[in-house]
């Protein structure tokens, strides 16, 4: 009985989150698409022609997996950050807090909203890339598994940001000053093995490196290590971040007095 009630509550939360980002779809989904098209035209074709092939594929094809996973991660992250911060600011987080919902379900509801937006943005980016690249699907399970776990990891990290943000400025600080540099230094535009030291060694500590390489393997069949390594690194990180998010929401940090 309680399980059915939780299932309906979870559905209600997810529907609310999806409606929220679809209400402003131009603002929420199109920027990733526009950015990807620009990257593919300028870097993939104009500059990429000069660079030749990278790991045996066209440069545009090489950067595409990184661009897709960039869209997945940033959309999942910003969706939950803004949704959670907005709910705190306007106090409609109280609708959830006074309802008979355990903390894990509240975390799951917000995170799922982020995952759906992340995967939708990734799919749109892949779709618009078709005319510019030779989009392949080398390993379906690796592609979907890494996209899904990446979206979940970043959605949960976004919840932590939304929990601690004190202003709208704070909702973009981590994405701008932490995530974007990590993604660009994680081998999005070039293979990490071509980077000078110490960047090459430091890349091993960058979780985004695993994500990009794993996803690249899923699409192109080329990567620095087995995709399962990527997957389990991301699962581990997701469990840590998810556990932290659950503990903070359960304790009522920044949401209860």
């Amino acid at each position: 009985m309680r399980l059915a009630a939780y299932a309906f509550a979870y559905r209600g939360m997810v529907v609310k989150q999806v409606r929220r980002f679809l209400r402003a779809w131009v603002q929420n989904l199109l920027p990733s698409v526009v950015t990807t098209v620009l990257f593919l035209v300028i870097f993939g074709h104009l500059i990429g022609r000069e660079l030749g092939t990278m790991r045996g594929v066209d440069y545009a094809d090489f950067i595409l997996p990184g661009l897709i996973i960039l869209a997945v991660a940033t959309n999942a992250y910003s969706n939950v950050t803004l949704a959670f911060y907005g709910a705190r600011l306007q106090r409609h987080i109280e609708e959830l807090l006074v309802a008979p919902l355990p903390a894990w379900l509240i975390v799951a509801g917000f995170a799922t909203g982020g995952v759906i937006r992340g995967l939708l943005a990734g799919a749109l980016v892949a779709l618009v890339a078709i005319p510019f690249t030779h989009l392949q699907l080398h390993h379906l399970a690796a592609t979907l598994g890494i996209a899904l776990i990446s979206a979940l990891l970043f959605a949960l990290a976004g919840l932590l940001n939304g929990l601690y943000a004190r202003s709208f400025d704070h909702t973009s600080v981590v994405a701008t000053f932490v995530l974007t540099p990590l993604i660009y230094l994680g081998g999005l535009f070039y293979p990490v093995e071509r980077m000078p030291e110490p960047w090459q060694s430091l890349a091993v500590l960058n979780p985004l490196y695993y994500m990009i390489e794993g996803f690249r393997y899923g699409l192109l069949g080329t990567g620095s290590f087995a995709w399962a390594t990527t997957f389990w690194v991301l699962v581990g990180a997701t469990l840590v971040v998810g556990g932290l998010a659950w503990a903070l929401v359960a304790r009522g940090v920044r949401i209860r007095t």
Binding site: R2, A4, A5, Y6, F8, A9, R11, G12, M13, V15, K16, R19, R20, R23, G86, A87, Q90, R91, H92, E94, E95, L96, L97, V98, A99, P100, L101, P102, G252, R256, T257
Partner: protein, 314 residues
């Protein structure tokens, strides 16, 4: 003996900075009662509602709702409560129907049942024609009614209302009163905090007055009002007076030449007063209470506590 729908035992809450929210409060709200919680601003009314809903965490003490401890059985306790907060706390960009349907889902109603109940409670609240509209466009009174509808969607056994009619026009207030009376008649236990004393007197069968985190009076409404030791009557005169008449044992004041105020002590009947006024040649055209009776009680208890605190500090 009626079971308590809400029971607080030795509950205390102190906020960061040292401000006292509640100080060692014991309170029981019997099942089926319409309970009024009164007090000046900052008395602790919203803190008490926050503690019941778990939005505020108690420093110590035990709080039970529908027999469930809100600290250790929060899910069960919250499932039987409906909450109408003091401030608007829904997403104003969402349509009215979606706000209520989402809340129904949070309480475990299936999508089909949630849609049905949303229609029913919006109709009850007079908002059915606004179902598809954004909540942004609602008036202040409509927003309050929307919060009441949202709180009722899962048929709660206990309804907590934190100043539900603040800022609502007279017509809206009376409509809300009728709605609440109906719910209470159907067996819903209601805890109402309000600044409108006539609202509390009109609706509540039991009252408690909070001041600075402590309960300074509590009991059945009629019993508390009966305990008032004096009430001030305002008399409209048939003929002007130059000075207030001197009546033994009664305080009289002339407000203007046509209006006289008299403090009527407990136990004295109005008939006796008229006899004595008649004996002094004063003819009365009309009569009203200077204050609502509950207002008198409220001011008396708050003043008594202030005196006690002053005495203790001296």
């Amino acid at each position: 003996m009626t079971a308590a729908a809400i029971a607080l035992q030795s509950v205390a809450k102190r906020y960061a900075g040292g401000r006292v929210g509640l100080a060692n409060v014991d309170l029981e709200v019997p099942a089926g009662s319409f309970f009024g919680l009164l007090g000046p601003n900052g008395a602790g009314k919203t803190t008490l509602v926050g503690l019941l809903t778990t939005l505020v965490r108690a420093d110590r003490g035990s709080i039970r709702v529908c027999g469930h401890d809100v600290a250790t059985q929060a899910v069960a306790a919250k499932a039987c409560m409906g909450v109408v907060p003091q401030e608007v706390n829904f997403n104003s960009f969402e349509p009215v129907g979606e706000i209520v349907e989402a809340q129904a889902a949070y309480y475990g109603l299936s999508p089909r049942r949630a849609r049905e109940r949303t229609g029913e409670v919006l109709e009850q609240a007079g908002l059915l024609d606004r179902r598809e509209q954004s909540a942004w466009g609602l008036s202040g009174g409509m927003k309050r009614r929307l919060m009441i509808a949202r709180a009722l969607v899962h048929r709660p056994r206990v309804l907590l209302l934190d100043e539900p009619t603040a800022g609502v026009d007279l017509e809206g207030r009376h409509a809300t009163w009728e709605l609440l009376r109906g719910l209470n008649a159907d067996g819903v236990t209601i805890l109402l905090t309000t600044h409108y004393l006539e609202e509390a007197e009109s609706l509540c069968d039991r009252l408690a007055i909070l001041d600075q985190g402590e309960i300074v009076a509590r009991g059945e409404t009629g019993e508390l009002l009966h305990g008032l030791n004096v009430q001030t009557l305002v008399l409209e005169l048939n003929a002007p007076l130059d000075a207030a008449p001197v009546l033994e044992g009664l305080a009289t004041r002339l407000v203007d030449t046509w209006t006289l105020e008299i403090d009527l002590p407990q136990g004295m009947e109005v008939n006796d007063l008229f006899d004595r006024l008649g004996g002094s040649g004063v003819r009365v055209a009309g009569l009203r209470n200077k204050r609502n009776r509950l207002e008198s009680l409220f001011l008396q208890r708050i003043a008594k506590r202030a005196d006690a605190l002053q005495g203790a500090g001296a």
